[in-house]
Amino acid sequence: MGEKKSFWKHLKAWVDGEEVILDADKYIVSRSVKEKKNWGGRYSMENIKGNKKLYGFLSVAISVLFIGIMLSVVNDLPEFGNPSNPANNEVMERYLESGIEETGAINFVAGMILDYRAFDTFGESNVLFLAVMCVVLLLKKDKNNYSEKEEAENWEDDYFDENEKRPILKVGGKLLAPLIILYGIYVILNGHLSPGGGFSGGTIIGAGLILYASAYGQKKMQTFFTFRTFTLICVACLLTYCACKSYSFFTGANHVGYEIPKGIPGNILSSGFILPLNICVGLIVACTMYGFYALFTKGDI
């Protein structure tokens, strides 16, 4: 009888516009309690998660099942290192055989990612840019993201940066950072000739900057690298990238315009747009990596 009555109440409240009329608050409480009994136990994900053992067992089972399926797939896949695999087809042949002629890059990977499939790489550098902007959105100080304690800690860190001796770190930083940055520049500039390229070189430069900043404190970095320079460099590089690639996409698709001179393969000034694009990517990546570091430590660049 009680159940029927509650059902009637339910119906009546629904006709009246749910919890609008009558003892609304009490109704909500009673309804939620009742529903928990009926539904919660079995269907809600939270409850499965609450049941530690069941959840653990399920996830292990899923993973093991996954590994099993994948191993049987691997068993059926083309053989490792076999030259007659489907992946080694005319696409790869063209990249390797006409690559030098068509892109001017001796490093075929660089030629491939910055010329044949440059749209992907454009997306990739945008991912980096967006990621650093997200980190700015998250960690840059504002009224939602401020705590006294953290401020005090940051002040303490600054104090140590200025007054602590740290001879090994400082001397090491002074000696190593320029070398690391120089090596990074080498890797970027030789991206089309040797392994590496914009991304790896940029990361190396970023690592050098991080070393310098951690040895001498961020105050010193800020004398030549502020948030404004950071955004300016990123935006300028991305715009250059965007312009170069728009030009080559547009002219390529419509069969118009002038060819970019490819130069003599093997020279440092060769291979059309690849060198400037590598430099752009390298600068973006270097700024991004340092930007991550600065935002992670101080919440500001």
Partner: protein, 501 residues
């Protein structure tokens, strides 16, 4: 310089324009200026997409656009046909209306110095969605899926409250799982076909089906890719990220995420079905059946979850789960009629759900940040325009004639006749889910129109003109889709014929 076909350049221009605006916005310091740049950009893209749509429909063609100097198997490619153009038009118009209608929420909820960053994310998200719609290359699709993920997470957390951080973390982890599976699928697919572009892959896959050599890997790959896409588009068992994220985000973000971002993944899935795996292969591998079953489950369970919810935004999020279930059911029917219904429902849901989220956001704002339906009694009397918008949206979701939702349901019912063996299931579930939809939408509609006892409801005097324009625009769009649906369905049918060739 003799002959440039400017119309064929439109997909490329739209993607690059959106990305370019995203980059330039980083230099802007003022949120309002960023908003203007964004709106102008979206409007230009809207005009271009309309031109593209008219042109491709008139010529009845699908064309590919070479990105760079190298033809198909070597370079990247874009591809545009009626479906892509129609989706681009829809995306741009919904984006335009949502952002202009929700601009007040952005300016109110996001910290002023970070507003330009929000618009960077919006621009990039828009560019990435267009790229997902137009792409003809599976790895490009992966890269832009990642851009989509990062930008949508940024949109969720832009509010800066702890709840939104929790929602973002949940969303991020589950989306990354989805893109990981998608990437694994891409890798295996590359190793058995040796190509990355859709048309070449399709040939290789037909070859595989003929020779039976890599049949198991092909089955598993298809499974992984569609599980990945299903996770990304929140098909039923993977929906757990939606409610928390949508609940804690700004209404504008919730509307865009639910109305457009989820749809962009589904459109990628549709393109994969037709351009890579081909409908027959999907049928022989029984993937469509699996999608069909999960779609049905999603339709019912999403509605059941929505009924239990007492907070309006979470209810709308669960309702999205149910509507995604409808779309997957249409895809899973495996017939072109079903696909037409699914595509039409994508449009209908995009314009309806964004409208609902915007109105809901405005109710929450009017009632002082309280979110339970119970607190919103009489909210529509305070803000009649939003009330009318919410009512129209809810009725469209339930499937009242003259509105967009009704047409898509009719199409689903018609499609079920053509797919043997699924008719009974579709019709029963469709009926049940319509009743469930009514059961959770009607109480909220009644609640917002019933004043609280003893409290006098005065209309809020200041409704911002942009908000009014966007709500009216959405309502009109709803009626347009509900009344003059013929040309649109004809375009969809045509595009599916073209895609399936």
């Amino acid at each position: 310089m003799e002959h440039i076909n400017w119309i064929h350049n439109i997909p490329f221009f739209s993607i690059f324009l959106a990305m370019l605006c995203g980059i330039i916005t980083a230099l802007v310091k003022n949120g309002r200026l960023a908003f203007k740049i964004h709106s102008i950009m979206v409007f230009i893209i809207f005009v271009m997409s309309v031109i593209l749509l008219i042109s491709v429909v008139k010529n009845n063609e699908i064309f590919t656009f070479m990105m760079g100097h190298f033809p198909a198997p070597w370079g990247n490619e874009l591809r545009a046909g009626p479906l892509e153009a129609l989706m681009a038009v829809t995306f741009s118009i919904v984006m335009l209306l949502t952002v202009s209608g929700g601009s007040e929420f952005i300016f109110k909820d996001v910290v002023p110095e970070k507003q330009p960053l929000y618009f960077i994310m919006l621009n990039a998200l828009f560019g990435a969605m267009l790229a997902l719609v137009y792409t003809n290359d599976i790895f490009t699709a992966y890269v832009f899926i990642e851009i989509n993920t990062i930008a949508s997470c940024a949109l969720i957390m832009a509010k800066g409250t702890p709840q939104s951080m929790v929602g973002t973390t949940h969303y991020l982890v589950i989306s990354l799982l989805g893109s990981g599976l998608f990437l694994l699928g891409v890798c295996i697919l590359y190793s058995i076909t040796g190509h990355l572009l859709f048309p070449q892959m399709k040939e290789a896959i037909l070859e595989i089906i003929k020779t039976e050599q890599y049949r198991l890997p092909l089955l598993v790959v298809t499974g992984f890719m569609f599980i990945g896409i299903a996770i990304k588009s929140a098909l039923f068992p993977f929906h757990s990220m939606l409610p928390g994220a949508y609940h804690s985000a700004i209404p504008t973000s919730s509307g865009i995420l639910s109305g457009l971002v989820l749809k962009s993944y589904i459109i990628l899935g549709i393109k994969l079905i037709y351009c890579v795996f081909s409908a027959e292969v999907m049928h022989t591998l029984k993937i469509t059946e699996v999608l069909f079953v999960f779609g049905l489950a999603g339709m019912v369970m999403g509605s059941v979850y929505a009924m239990r919810e007492r907070k309006m935004k979470r209810m709308l999020a669960y309702s999205s789960v149910a509507q995604i279930g409808y779309i997957y059911m249409g895809i899973g029917m495996g017939s072109r009629v079903g696909m037409t219904a699914a595509c039409f429902h994508i449009l209908a849901h995009a314009i309806t759900k964004t409208l609902l989220f915007l109105c809901c956001g405005s109710f929450v704002e009017d009632s002082g940040g309280k979110e339970k339906i119970y607190h919103m009694r009489g909210a529509a009397l305070r803000n009649p325009l939003a009330g009318i918008g919410y009512t129209v949206g809810a009725l469209s979701m339930i499937g009242i004639p003259l509105l967009a939702g009704f047409i898509s349901k009719i199409y689903f019912a018609t499609a079920s006749v053509y797919s043997s063996g699924k008719m009974a299931a579709v019709l029963i579930i469709l009926g049940v889910s319509m009743v469930l939809n009514a059961l959770y939408f009607l109480p909220s509609v009644i609640a917002i129109w019933t004043p609280e006892k003893g409290v006098e409801m005065k209309p809020v005097s200041s409704v911002s003109p942009l908000f009014a324009v966007s709500i009216v625009g959405f309502i009109l769009l709803n009626f347009v889709l509900g009344v003059c649906y013929r040309p649109i369905t004809r375009i969809i049918q045509m595009s599916i014929e073209l895609l399936a060739q």
